[in-house]
Amino acid sequence: MRKSFGAVQALRSGTLRVEPGSIHALIGENGAGKSTLVKIVAGVHRRDGGTFRFKGNDVDFSSTAESKGAGIAVIYQEPTLFPDLSVTENIFMGRMPLGAGRRIDRAAMHEEAESIFRRLGVRIDPRRSARGLSIADQQIIEIAKAISLDASLLVMDEPTAALSGVEVERLFAVARSLRDEGRGLVFISHRFDEVFDLCDTVTVMRDGAYVGTEKVAETTVPALVSLMVGREVDDLFPKVDAEIGDVVLSVENLDSPGVFRDISFDVRAGEIVALAGLVGAGRSEIARAVFGVDKYRSGRVTLDGKPIRPGSPRAAIKAGIAFVPEDRRQQGLVIDSSVAHNIAGVIRGRIAKGGLIATGMENKAVRPWASRLEVKTNALDMAATTMSGGNQQKVVIAKWLATGPKLLIIDEPTRGIDVGTKSEVHRLLSELAGQGLAVLMISSELPEVLGMADRVLVVCEGRITAELARGEATPETVMAAATGTTPDQIHLEHEAEAVKEVTA
């Protein structure tokens, strides 16, 4: 199957074959195209090409309603709940059982909801409203929703990202029983232990393309990792070695209940430090806390030894921190205004004369950055919406570079960017480091982490579980720390060869 969004080709040749009565794992780096594939199956997106057979006959769902009707249940990566409605209604929305006089049969719904929750072994009051549920509870309700459909195909896109161990076990029990009822399940996860624990077969995707399918019984983590990563790591991520200066940012046991616990680390001038880990590990939260978007309960953040007032992005910007957020369409760009406005957005203070900014002056101030980043926008005052993801990313970076920061925090620098632009962004980052900028990079893409970072901090469930120097950072060590397993479980002796194979 093929699918592209504008310039981003999310799926080149997505291929997945799911047998009834089996649990099929779908793995791949962030942006590999897993969710896109899922969304096509669910009827959220229409595929650009390729074939899609369900129970033997060709199908092409134009709406999620159709796929539901056909017996496909999907748990989306991001919870989709109606905060104002009750938990039960959320589970049954769109297909509520009708009782006497076409009125919906609440008793029956609550009944079934209760039983599903019992089955999942959670205690959620089905009558309460969905507003204010914890992310984990929301995830549970997503699962309940899918189960209640009793569909013949159940797709779960990273259902465990936010779940605790016990809950995961329960979910797996249910999944197995469903399999034994002869249903087909697709399970997407970044956690190998889960894949090996639950699944029968595993399909690996990379850059929107099908890489291979293995029987779980007959494969190993390193094998899968090499399938996932399998590309010339080193020249794709050209980090020039810059001489490391003295400490710029230092974070001392930062603590925010429910999200992360006693986080401490330094970032030095000219150094690129990567926060690696699984989706939902808490890296974005850490970054947001450092930048002051989110408040934290205890701990302190200092830049060049000067403490930064918590909970105030303005203070952070003044102090010289730049923050390129995870979802730039949402947070980084002021979509409706022009590139120039966006880039100048945060430096008005500098280029303003008496509080006023002449457009000419603005453009002058902005051009060098834009050209330096090779932002491919023919006119600077073209609307930001109209650019490809890659160019948008560059604009956001330019926007912050224009403030002449000491520290650049960049979350998922290349998410949603086509491979070509990816390496440009990487070159830019190492260049900046070369000029003595301190960079804190959050990335879920292992190769990126390994290629770019001078040091890797691995975050697992809100804790820093490992600090690896460039030399000792390998797919296995990082994965191990990220999944909470230990490297020797992932046969270290193989590791060397594995990487050789990869880089050969």
Binding site: G43, V44, S63, T64, A65, E66, K68, Y76, T80, L81, F82, P83, D84, L85, S86, E89, M93, G94, M96, L98, R102, R103, I104, R123, D125, R127, R128, S129, R131, G132, S134, A136, P257, G258
Partner: protein, 345 residues
């Protein structure tokens, strides 16, 4: 907006049902407004002994019947994150149409039917523009408000429908009572109950809430968003049409400015009744009680010696108060929930 209503306080989690219902009752916006309303009436009765006797009682119940219909319709629309400013003009147009049909010698039934049908049609126009072209309802219905009024002005010109031209039986309807309860009031109560029942117990009704609560999620669910929104506007229009019929009966005449400005009252009623202006929550009961309160206040204030001139100000203060209160309550509720999560995690 008012999670406070739907969310049981943490402790009652063990006995959800009772706890929920109790918590609901105590916190319920509907109850709160109702209490205010009854207090008002009580005070008024105390101050002027004739307040609840004979036709005074009748009018107390009769006058709100029209606004109640509009508030019900407005609620359906607001729940879907839209708003309908055109109901005032729709009312006027439908009231005039009803009158004209009758004065053309047709039966009151036909006339009433015509009025409601016309209303539904006008509502459909709003709905189609908004749902299909996906444009903000606020501006579009502001536009149709002017257009519909303009059409009415053109049609009625300097003419007006007088009591004489209307069917006597129809006019009686405006004052007839059953066990001292005016017929119009009974009718609009029935309508409100019907709408409320639909919103509460029908799939379509719940989907309206879902759409207003999170449009993107609604789309992921494959809910028929356009159809539902269109439906809501048609309903609102039809109810405005019915209100127009009531208007003709109640006031025994229709002029080209009938219903002017009542749309804002309808919105106010819904808001006071606890309907969240950004959709997803609120009940039609609340809106109806809000409408009752709005009308009754203007009735009671003079008795309490509050100057005629202050009445608008009081209504305004009421709206602001209601909203700000909501805000305070809900933010408090959120804090409580955060704490809960800590505890459980």
């Amino acid at each position: 907006m008012n999670t406070a209503l739907d969310t049981p306080p943490a402790p009652t989690r063990r006995r959800p049902d009772v706890g929920h219902i109790l918590g609901g009752l105590v916190r319920s916006r509907e109850i709160a407004v109702l209490v205010v309303l009854l207090l008002l009436i009580a005070v008024a009765t105390f101050k002027s002994d004739g307040f609840l006797t004979g036709d005074r009682w009748r009018d107390l119940l009769l006058t709100p019947s029209i606004l109640m219909l509009l508030a019900a319709g407005q609620t359906m629309v607001i729940i879907t994150r839209n708003v309908d400013l055109s109901v005032g003009s729709t009312l006027g147009l439908c009231a005039y149409a009803t009158g004209e049909i009758m004065s053309a010698g047709h039966s009151p039934w036909l006339a009433a039917l015509g009025g409601v049908a016309l209303g539904a049609g006008l509502g459909a126009i709003n709905g189609l523009i908004i749902a299909v072209a996906r444009v903000p309802a606020l501006v579009i219905t502001l536009g149709t408000m002017l257009v519909y009024r303009g059409i009415l002005l053109r049609w009625a010109g300097s003419d007006r429908v007088n009591a004489g031209e209307l069917d006597p039986g129809f006019l009686d309807l405006g004052t007839k009572q059953i066990l001292t309860i005016p017929v119009l009031t009974i009718l609009s109560l029935l309508v409100v109950i019907a709408v409320g029942y639909y919103l509460r117990t029908a799939r379509g009704g719940r989907e309206l809430y879902a759409i207003g609560s999170d449009p993107d999620a609604a789309a992921l669910f494959g809910l028929p968003i356009r159809r539902r929104v269109l439906g809501a506007f048609i309903a609102s229009g039809a109810l405005a049409g019915l209100a127009g019929v009531f208007w003709a009966a109640r006031y025994g005449g229709v002029s080209s400015n009938a219903g002017q400005g009542i749309e804002l009252q309808a919105v106010a009623a819904a808001v006071i009744g606890g309907v969240a202006i950004f959709g997803g929550s609120g009940s039609v009961w609340g809106a109806a009680i809000g409408a009752f309160l709005l009308v009754t206040i203007n009735r009671v204030l003079p008795i309490l010696g509050v100057s005629d001139f202050y009445q608008q100000a009081v209504v305004g203060a009421l709206i602001i108060g209601a909203i700000v209160l909501d805000r305070v309550l809900s933010s408090r509720a959120e804090r409580r929930l955060a704490v809960d999560r800590e505890a459980t995690s």
